[in-house]
Symmetry: C2
C-alpha cells in the first residue's frame, strides 16, 4: 500500500488532498495533538520537507484536517429541500446524529479537547456553527417563524444545545437514537417560537 | 497601598486568599495567559518563591483563580427557595445575566478563549455546569417535571443554550436585558417538558 502510494505521481492539489485525507483517517484513532508530521509523511511516501511545502506548520496541517472534517459534516447534513419543513429539520438532525456517532471519538475530542481552545480551530468551528445557523434561519419562514434579533439568539443557543446534548448522549447513550433526534428537533421551535406557538406548530 | 500590603503579616490561608484575590482583580483587565507570577508577587509584596509555596506552578495558580471566579458566580446565582418555582428560575437567570454582564470580558475570555481547551480549566467549568444542572434538576418536580434520562439531557443542553445565547448577547446586545432573561427562562420548560406541556405551564 505504502509502496503503491510512493509510485504514484500526484498533482499538487491531489497531493495536498491525499495528505489531509491521511490526517483525517489518523484522527479516527488518535487525538489531533498526537498526529505527527513524520507519520503522515511516511505513510504518504513523501519527505517532511515536501509536507511543509503544502502546510506552513504542523499547526497549519492540523487546521486543514479540522477544516476538512467540518466540511464533511456540513455535506452530510445538507438539508433536503424537497421534504416538508419539519421533515427537513428531522432529516438534518438524523444525519447529524448518525455522522457524529460514526465519528464519535473525533467529534468529542475536537469539540471538547485541547483543540477547542485554539483560536484557529475555534474559527473553523465558529464558521461551521455559523453555516448551520444560516441554514436553520433560511428555513424558519417555512415554519412560520420571522427571523429577528431574538430568533437569531435562539438559533445560536439551539446549536449549542444540540452539540451539548449530543456529546452528553455519545458519552452515555441513556435514551434511544430516535428519542434524541426528536428532542433536538422539537427544541428548535420551542426556543425560537415560544412554547405556545411551538405547541400549535408541532401538534399540527 | 503596596507598602501597606507589605507590612501586613498574614496567615497562610489569608495569604493564599490574598494572592488569588489579586489574580481575580487582574483578570478583569487582561486574559489569564497575561497574568504573570512576577506581577502578582510584586503587588502582594512577596517573593516569587513564596508564591510557589502556595501554588505548585503558574498553571496551578491560574486554575485557582478560575475556581474562585466560578465559585463566585455560583454564589451570586444561588436559588432563593422562598420564591414561587418559575420565579426562582427567573431570579437565578437575572442574577446570572447581571453577573456575567459585570464580568463580561473575563467571562467571554474564560469560556471562549484559550483556557477553554485546557483540561484542568475544563474540569472546573464542567463542575460549575454540573452544579448549575443539579440545582435545576432539584427544582424540576416543583414545575411538574419528572427528572429522567431525557430530562437530564435537556437540562445539560439548556445550560449550553444559556451560555451560548448569553455570550452572543454580551458581544452584541441586540435585545433588552429583560427579553434575554425571558428567553433563557422559557427555554427550560420548552426543552425539558416539550412544547405542549410547557405552554400549559407558562400560560398558567
Amino acid at each position: 500500500m505504502d509502496a503503491a502510494v510512493k509510485r504514484t505521481r500526484l498533482s499538487p492539489a491531489e497531493r495536498r488532498a491525499q495528505l489531509i485525507d491521511l490526517g483525517v483517517r489518523m484522527l479516527a484513532e488518535r487525538s489531533l495533538e498526537q498526529i505527527s508530521v513524520e507519520d503522515i509523511a511516511d505513510q504518504a511516501g513523501v519527505s517532511r520537507g515536501l509536507l511543509f511545502h503544502y502546510f506552513t506548520s504542523k499547526h497549519d496541517f492540523h487546521v486543514a484536517i479540522v477544516r476538512h472534517t467540518s466540511a464533511e459534516m456540513l455535506a452530510r447534513t445538507a438539508p433536503d429541500l424537497e421534504l416538508a419543513p419539519l421533515e427537513i429539520l428531522r432529516d438534518v438532525m438524523a444525519s447529524y446524529v448518525d455522522y457524529v456517532s460514526e465519528n464519535r471519538d473525533t467529534y468529542v475530542s475536537l469539540l471538547r479537547g485541547t483543540a477547542s481552545g485554539d483560536p484557529d480551530m475555534r474559527e473553523v468551528f465558529e464558521e461551521t456553527r455559523g453555516e448551520m445557523a444560516r441554514r436553520v434561519i433560511d428555513q424558519l419562514p417555512t415554519l412560520g417563524i420571522d427571523p429577528d434579533a431574538r430568533t437569531a439568539l435562539s438559533v445560536r443557543g439551539w446549536i449549542a444545545f444540540v452539540e451539548e446534548a449530543t456529546i452528553t448522549w455519545l458519552r452515555s447513550p441513556d435514551i434511544p437514537r430516535d428519542e434524541l433526534i426528536e428532542l433536538l428537533v422539537t427544541a428548535l421551535p420551542a426556543v425560537a417560537l415560544g412554547a405556545g406557538a411551538a405547541a400549535a406548530l408541532l401538534g399540527g
